[in-house]
Symmetry: C2
Subunit: 216 residues, 2 copies
Amino acid sequence: MKVLVVGANGQIGKHLVSLVQDNDSLEAKAMIRKQEQASFFENLGAETVMADLEGEVETIAKAAEGVDAIVFTAGSGPHTGSDKTLMVDLDGAVKTIEAAKVAGVKRFIMISSFDTRREAIQAAPSSFAPYVVAKHYADDWLRRTNLDYTIIHPGALTNDKGTGEVNAAEEVERGQVPREDVASVIVASLENDSTIGKEFQVVAGTKPVNEAIKSL
Amino acid sequence: MKVLVVGANGQIGKHLVSLVQDNDSLEAKAMIRKQEQASFFENLGAETVMADLEGEVETIAKAAEGVDAIVFTAGSGPHTGSDKTLMVDLDGAVKTIEAAKVAGVKRFIMISSFDTRREAIQAAPSSFAPYVVAKHYADDWLRRTNLDYTIIHPGALTNDKGTGEVNAAEEVERGQVPREDVASVIVASLENDSTIGKEFQVVAGTKPVNEAIKSL
């Protein structure tokens, strides 16, 4: 299965491309914004393709040609303003969803935020709420498609080394989770079609990733 | 017909409440954020109600109790950041739409931006694009409801005195339009149920407002 990783150059993205390349039944196509980002992925033996989430749907659709699944793990990051939250986390996500339709790619995995429900927007601190709004509408857009989607809602991301063990369910207690383990959860979701049409929260836990995902 | 004006204290909002109060078959309920904003509307004989677009849907729904129509003409304004664009222009609009459903108010008039289509997002200068994104998704949300909606797409707003004459159609050439004339267009839309389920662009022109709206 060939997987377009949107946001490949991000922290989860890099773990993900690495895990995908280590997996015999998967191969990655890393979508990147700048040519200088390519070498990291080429060293992993992964294909790369240049496309900008602020560009046209058609450009992203072209990047998605020939893949079997798309993983959206892009994020405008904490150092940009809310303008980029609107352009990347909301509109870039929706354009990627539309590109999946154009390219005829049915399988779509969205890396969302821990809780993107209406109540979570209202409860969020004012500095975080705009991001939750963006993710709320991106998730909503995906749910209304006919794509074979999975929406993953990770807890607070850390750079700790992955443990390979998580706690995943429709609702779990808020907590942290290493980015490396989120990448493992994405791979397990790609390998388990039982996750199609589902969404779940995931934090650090005690169940091996594959078991946790199978039992969702 | 009683009309909840959301964004009453804005520049179009003030013109609108004034025109509504001058109209024998209409009365305004001005939704405001601060008590000190009330006197302007009380002097026009209009009812006021306090509610914040960043608050709960239920608060806005309570403000909408007993009205027959809602006009959304709020905007975060050019002096705030994109965080407010997300919270007010997008999420505040959607919450108002949801509040209309909760309160059982079928008639909904949205003051949008001149062009909120995908192509317009891509074509917009980077400083304006995030605003277009917010309006794009708010308009989209409204179209997917069962409300009796009208979406008005005004050209570049000016503070010129209204002429009472406009050019309105599904697509018109880009141009300016006085805020006072936009307020007249809103009143004419409230008075003409033929605008239900429609959206149109409006700029300064040569047709009397009521005639322009009737012939849409």
